[in-house]
């Protein structure tokens, strides 16, 4: 049987480097300043919300963005599903409607990296 062994940590610097890595997988358990909420009612799922959520998760990982992705039930605007709300640094959330997998990279790029709200996709603010 192969015994899995962890590599030796040879200095305090190495310990700190390891910690930086380890923190990433713990972030889900701490509140971050960015919260992305995806509508996951039956309406949302039917409109592709799960695929959208996966696309968001991939994009966050690719771009190394620190954010919590949360799923919520139907908020009553089924016609606009999939709905994605982004809240940053305690600011009121911006809700985007009819987000599909193709729109996700642009959404992350504009809103989370450049800080620009994509007005034509917004259906609600605050």
């Amino acid at each position: 049987m192969e015994v899995f062994r962890l590599p030796k940590i040879k200095s305090l610097e190495e310990l700190r480097k390891l910690r930086e890595e380890a923190i990433k997988s713990m972030r889900v358990r701490e509140s971050t300043s960015t919260k992305i909420t995806v509508g996951m009612g039956t309406c949302g799922i039917a409109a592709g919300a799960r695929e959208v959520m996966h696309a968001i998760l991939n994009e966050l990982e690719k771009r190394k963005i620190d954010a919590n992705v949360i799923t919520v039930g139907c908020i009553g605007l089924c016609a606009e599903e999939p709905l994605v709300t982004i809240e940053r640094g305690g600011q009121p959330g911006i809700t985007y409607g009819k987000i599909d997998v193709e729109k996700v990279p642009k959404l992350i790029e504009e809103h989370l990296i450049k800080g620009n709200i994509i007005d034509e996709w917004v259906i609600s603010r605050g």
């Binding site: 962890l6 040879k10 305090l12 910690r19 990433k24 889900v28 509508g39 996951m40």
Partner: protein, 596 residues
């Protein structure tokens, strides 16, 4: 590279929640069935403390808390919460006072008055994954001590912090370390006393199960400071999960080189051995504990010489409790000023209590020193079940003492507890309600301590037995008023003449209940009456004619046919036939059976 999951489901997996492995299994299956296994991670955690509502499940990033989860709930949780983002209301905690559902873990009233310092990681990290401990700042204090502080600096820091031994006696930790450091010996040892044996106590077990690395890190810092390279953890074999997690923690720390030669590239080397005890209560006494590690019979010896001078195999040895070591990394990282800002004048920091007995929120709590007993019982503990009145709380286990309603405003610290006749002890807190007979209560603890007497010295071996006989007579209605003086004499004798703390403190529960509830003792002796209605030889069972609905349940269940009565009419107990087994009281749905 650590995989990032969008959601973590934390499930308490400690000895207190035996059902949780089935939940974990069911959850694994459900996640695979739903193809969510790469999206959602299951994390087993140690005890988050809210044991009365366990097994608990905490779902992140939302922080939703589900109580009393069973494997049957798993499919619904995955469907509703994980996939659709809705909460399953029936599993939420309902605040009994505000009568509203509480969704988030952090908002449960149970946690509001707590200050979690050494329990910080308990219920947050996976104790079997060293990376999670490191992510939360683990082993950073060790690094700080090794590279930024001299051993003298560390001793100074611990001394200034005001940390006192959490095993019960409250000896200043910094001073103890200094004694061992300055003692002469060709080899020195460090021991962690994890031989927690008090009935109703589970503080040390929970910490070892939930955050074993914090204890290991504390021992490593002590080793560096005192100049020792060998440590032992003495833990009772009954603590199987604690020992398993300690072994995993030690092996992971060894892989990383955090235990072993030249730790983190420094000159400091240290190794840790786990010694499993066979469960004798007296082995929690330090000299008996050391004898047991040496392979001898677990019997105490006289002190001095103290272990700091002559300990394990005759060498200077530093012994601290689990919680004392767990405090050390926090003090090193946050500084003595921070630590000494918590607590009272003479007792700094926090204290961990295992809250149990007749109290609503049974669980593991950590509170700042100086909090009042009332705040613990009513605000954190949620009061007494079934609307009964609070009567007393036993602190310090079978060797402690009890506190009554008069002490509800007493601040909890080493000195003020001593003044009231109770002791801080290691953190056991057993609460009893108005229906408890205090003579019987004292007798229970006395029985425990006399059974656990090692028999080496006469005062403990014979004195305890003698005292038990007297108490037994009192509960059987054969007591005399002179017995109370005899108890006090015996107690004085045992306190002064016993070899170790076990014998010296055995009379504790008897003396403190005698002080606070003397009238109950007198009622047993003079009136031949048990005011709480518990001592069988002293009570008679009656049926309340007003309350009895004549359902016939007691009649059917009475093993000696002592109950008679027609259907739908009040029943009666024949006192001559009644064997006082209490079955009728247990089965009655209308609370109609009472004792006098």
């Amino acid at each position: 590279m650590h995989r990032i999951y969008r959601s973590h489901i934390l499930i308490c997996r400690s000895s207190g929640c035996p059902g949780s492995p089935m939940i974990i299994e069911a959850l694994k299956e459900e996640l695979i069935k739903r193809k969510l296994e790469n999206e959602v991670r299951i994390v087993q955690i140690g005890c988050p403390g809210f044991c009365s509502r366990g097994p608990l499940m905490i779902i992140y990033p939302e922080g939703i808390l589900y109580c009393e989860v069973s494997p049957d709930d798993v499919a619904e949780i995955v469907e509703e919460t994980i996939i659709k983002g809705r909460t399953v209301e029936r599993l939420l905690y309902e605040d009994p006072i505000a009568a509203q559902l509480v969704t988030h873990y952090s908002e449960i009233p149970f946690y509001k008055k707590q200050k979690r310092v050494i329990l910080k990681n308990c219920g947050l990290i996976d104790p079997e994954n060293i990376d999670e401990y490191i992510a939360e700042g683990g082993y950073e204090a060790l690094g700080k001590a090794l590279f930024e502080m001299s051993p003298e600096n560390v001793i100074e820091e611990i001394k200034k912090s005001g940390l006192r031994g959490r095993g019960g006696a409250g000896f200043p930790t910094g001073l103890k370390w200094e004694f061992t450091k300055n003692a002469r010996g060709e080899k020195k040892y460090i021991i962690c006393n994890a031989d927690e044996g008090d009935p109703g106590a589970f503080m040390d077990r929970s910490i070892l199960e939930a955050d074993p690395h914090s204890v290991i890190e504390g021992m490593l810092i002590a080793g560096y400071t005192i100049g020792v390279n060998e440590g032992f953890i003495y833990c009772r074999a009954e603590y199987a999960l604690a020992i398993r997690r300690l072994k995993i923690a030690i092996s992971q720390a060894m892989d990383y080189g955090l235990i072993g030669e030249n730790i983190l590239g420094s000159d400091f080397s240290f190794r840790i051995t786990i010694k499993e005890g066979a469960g004798a209560f007296v082995c929690g006494e330090e000299t008996a504990l050391m004898a047991s590690i040496e392979g001898r019979r677990g019997e105490p010896r006289t002190r001095p010489p103290y272990p700091a001078v002559k300990g394990l195999w005759g060498m200077p040895t530093n012994i601290n409790n689990v919680k004392t070591y767990a405090n050390v990394p926090r003090i090193i990282l946050n500084g003595w000023e921070w630590f000494s800002s918590i607590g009272t004048e003479t007792s700094k920091g926090t204290m961990v209590f295992a809250l149990t007995g007749q109290i609503n929120n049974i669980g593991l709590i950590e509170v700042p020193m100086g909090i009042t007993l009332g705040e613990i019982i009513f605000d954190i503990g949620g009061g007494i079940p079934k609307g009964k009145k609070f009567k007393a709380v036993q602190t310090g286990g079978p060797l402690g003492g009890c506190l009554s309603t008069e002490s509800l405003n007493t601040p909890i610290d080493y000195e003020s507890l001593k003044e009231t006749g109770a002791v801080m002890g290691s953190g056991g807190m057993i609460v009893v309600d108005e229906d408890t007979c205090m003579v019987e209560f004292a007798k229970y603890f006395l029985k425990f301590s006399t059974d656990e007497s090692c028999g080496k010295c006469v005062p403990c071996r014979v004195g305890g037995k003698k005292m038990y006989e007297i108490l037994n007579n009192i509960t059987e209605g054969k007591g005399k008023l002179e017995d109370l003086d005899e108890i006090e004499n015996l107690a004085k004798f045992m306190e002064q003449a016993s070899l170790c703390a076990l014998g010296q403190l055995t009379p504790g529960p008897v003396i403190s209940t005698l002080k606070l509830f003397r009238d109950e003792y007198v009622a047993h002796i003079v009136d031949k009456r048990c005011p709480a209605g518990q001592c069988i030889p002293l009570i008679t069972f009656y049926i309340d004619e007003e309350k009895c609905k004549g359902c016939g349940l007691c009649l059917k269940n009475c093993p000696v046919n002592a109950i008679s009565g027609e259907k739908k009419k009040p029943h009666k107990i024949d006192i001559e036939l009644c064997t006082k087994c209490g079955t009728c009281r247990d089965v009655c749905k209308f609370d109609a059976v009472y004792t006098k």
